[in-house]
C-alpha cells in the first residue's frame, strides 16, 4: 500500500459507504424527541428511589435522636445511623448527577471515564456498607428500643457492654480489611461476583477500560 495515499484509500471507503447507505432525512424530521430513553430512565429511577430511601432513613434517625435527646446512647446511635444514611445518600446523589449529566458530545476520554465509573459505583456502595459493621451497637440500641421498648444500654450487664464495645473496636480493622478487599482489582473474583449480584465481570471490564483510558492519556512522546 502506498502510504502517501492512505487518505485517498480511506475516501474510497467513504464513497462506497455513501453509495451503500441511504439516510431518510424526511423521517428524521418526524422523530419525537420526547420519546423516553428507557434505559436511562430506569437508572434514574433506581437512583432516585435509593436516594429517597437513605434520606428518609437519615431523617428518621435524626428524629429518633431528637426524641431521645435526654439519653446520650440513643442520641449517639441515631446520630451514627443518620450519618451513615446521609453518606450513602450523598454517594447515590453523586451517581445520579453523573447519570443525568451524560452528554455524548463530551470529549471521548471524559465521557467514557464517566460511563465506566457509573458501572463501577456498586463497589463504592459496598465499601460504604462495610463501615457500618463497627457501629453495629447503634443498630442493637435502635432495634431494642423500636421493637421491644428496651433500653439495651440500661439493661445490659457491664461485662456484656464491655464485650460489645471491644467487639466494635475489633470490627474496625475488619471493616478496614474488607474495605481494602473490596478493591476494584478483585472484581473478577468469585466472592466479589456474588456480592455484585453477578455483574462482577462487567465491573471488571469497565475497570479494564478505565485503566486503558488512563494509559492512553499518559502515553506521551
Amino acid at each position: 500500500m502506498d502510504f502517501s495515499n492512505l487518505q485517498q484509500t480511506w475516501s474510497r471507503l467513504e464513497q462506497k459507504l455513501e453509495k451503500g447507505n441511504r439516510l431518510n432525512l424526511d423521517l428524521l424530521k418526524k422523530v419525537n424527541l420526547d420519546r423516553a430513553q428507557n434505559k436511562l430512565k430506569n437508572l434514574v429511577w433506581q437512583q432516585a428511589i435509593t436516594i429517597a430511601f437513605y434520606l428518609l432513613a437519615g431523617s428518621y434517625f435524626i428524629h429518633f435522636s431528637a426524641i431521645h435527646w435526654e439519653n446520650w446512647h440513643y442520641v449517639i446511635s441515631g446520630g451514627v445511623l443518620a450519618g451513615w444514611s446521609f453518606i450513602a445518600s450523598a454517594s447515590a446523589i453523586h451517581q445520579l448527577q453523573l447519570i443525568l449529566t451524560i452528554d455524548y458530545s463530551m470529549p471521548i476520554l471524559q465521557l467514557q471515564k464517566r460511563l465506566m465509573s457509573i458501572k463501577t459505583a456498586i463497589i463504592k456502595n459496598l465499601r460504604i456498607a462495610v463501615w457500618v459493621l463497627p457501629f453495629y451497637m447503634a443498630f442493637v440500641v435502635w432495634i431494642s428500643e423500636l421493637f421491644f421498648r428496651i433500653d439495651f444500654i440500661a439493661v445490659a450487664e457491664i461485662s456484656a457492654l464491655s464485650w460489645n464495645f471491644i467487639l466494635s473496636g475489633l470490627l474496625i480493622p475488619v471493616a478496614w480489611w474488607m474495605h481494602r478487599k473490596l478493591n476494584p482489582r478483585n472484581a473478577d473474583k468469585n466472592w466479589m461476583n456474588w456480592l455484585l449480584h453477578g455483574s462482577g465481570s462487567q465491573v471488571s471490564e469497565a475497570l479494564d477500560f478505565l485503566r486503558e483510558i488512563d494509559e492512553f492519556e499518559r502515553e506521551e512522546v
Partner: protein
C-alpha cells in the same frame, strides 16, 4: 418566533448539517460495528443524540468536531456493549446466520479492505484517532474530540502509522 417554529428551524439546520457530513457517521459506525443490523441501530442512535443535543451545541467549536464526539462516543459505547454480549454467546457456532450485505469485503478493493481490517484491529481509542486522522482532521481537532494534548495526538498518529507499515510489510 414561537418555540415550535424555532425548534423546526433548528431541526432543518441540523438536517442540512447531517446531509453534508453524513460520511462522518457512516465511517465511524462502519469502523466500530460489522453487523448491518447493528449498524442501522447505531446510526439511528447517533441521529437521535445529534438531534437531541443540537440545542446544547454552542457553536464554539466546529460542527464536525461535535459530530465526531457524538458519533465516536456512541460507537465506542456500542462496541463495548457488543463485545461483552459476544463473550457470552461465543459458544454458538459461527455463521449461523449469514447477512448478505452490499458492502462486504469482496466488493471492496483490496487496499480499502486492508485498511479497514487494520482499523478494526486497533483498540477503540486509537481507532478514533486513526479515523479522524484519515478524514484529514488537524491534530488540534483530534485533541479536542479526545481531550488529549496535541503532542500526545502526534505521538499516537506516528505510532499507528508505524504499526500500519509493519502490518502491510507482513501481509
Amino acid at each position: 418566533m414561537s418555540g415550535s417554529e424555532r425548534h423546526k428551524n433548528r431541526v432543518d439546520d441540523l438536517i442540512q448539517i447531517i446531509e453534508t457530513n453524513k460520511g462522518i457517521i457512516y465511517k465511524v459506525v462502519n469502523s466500530y460495528c460489522n453487523d448491518p443490523n447493528d449498524q442501522e441501530d447505531l446510526v439511528q442512535e447517533i441521529m437521535y443524540h445529534l438531534l437531541e443535543g443540537y440545542d446544547r451545541f454552542d457553536h464554539q467549536s466546529k460542527v464536525t468536531t461535535w459530530m465526531y464526539k457524538v458519533a465516536l462516543n456512541m460507537s465506542i459505547s456500542f462496541y463495548r456493549k457488543s463485545k461483552t454480549r459476544k463473550k457470552y454467546i461465543s459458544s454458538m457456532p459461527e455463521n449461523i446466520i449469514q447477512i448478505k450485505t452490499e458492502e462486504n469485503e469482496e466488493t471492496m478493493d483490496r487496499e480499502v479492505a486492508q485498511l479497514r481490517q487494520f482499523i478494526h484491529n486497533l483498540d477503540e481509542l486509537n481507532r478514533a484517532v486513526m479515523i479522524m486522522y484519515l478524514d484529514g482532521n488537524s491534530h488540534e481537532d483530534i485533541a479536542e474530540v479526545l481531550n488529549l494534548s496535541e503532542s500526545n495526538v502526534g505521538t499516537k498518529i506516528y505510532r499507528i502509522k508505524n504499526k500500519l507499515k509493519e502490518h502491510f510489510r507482513t501481509e
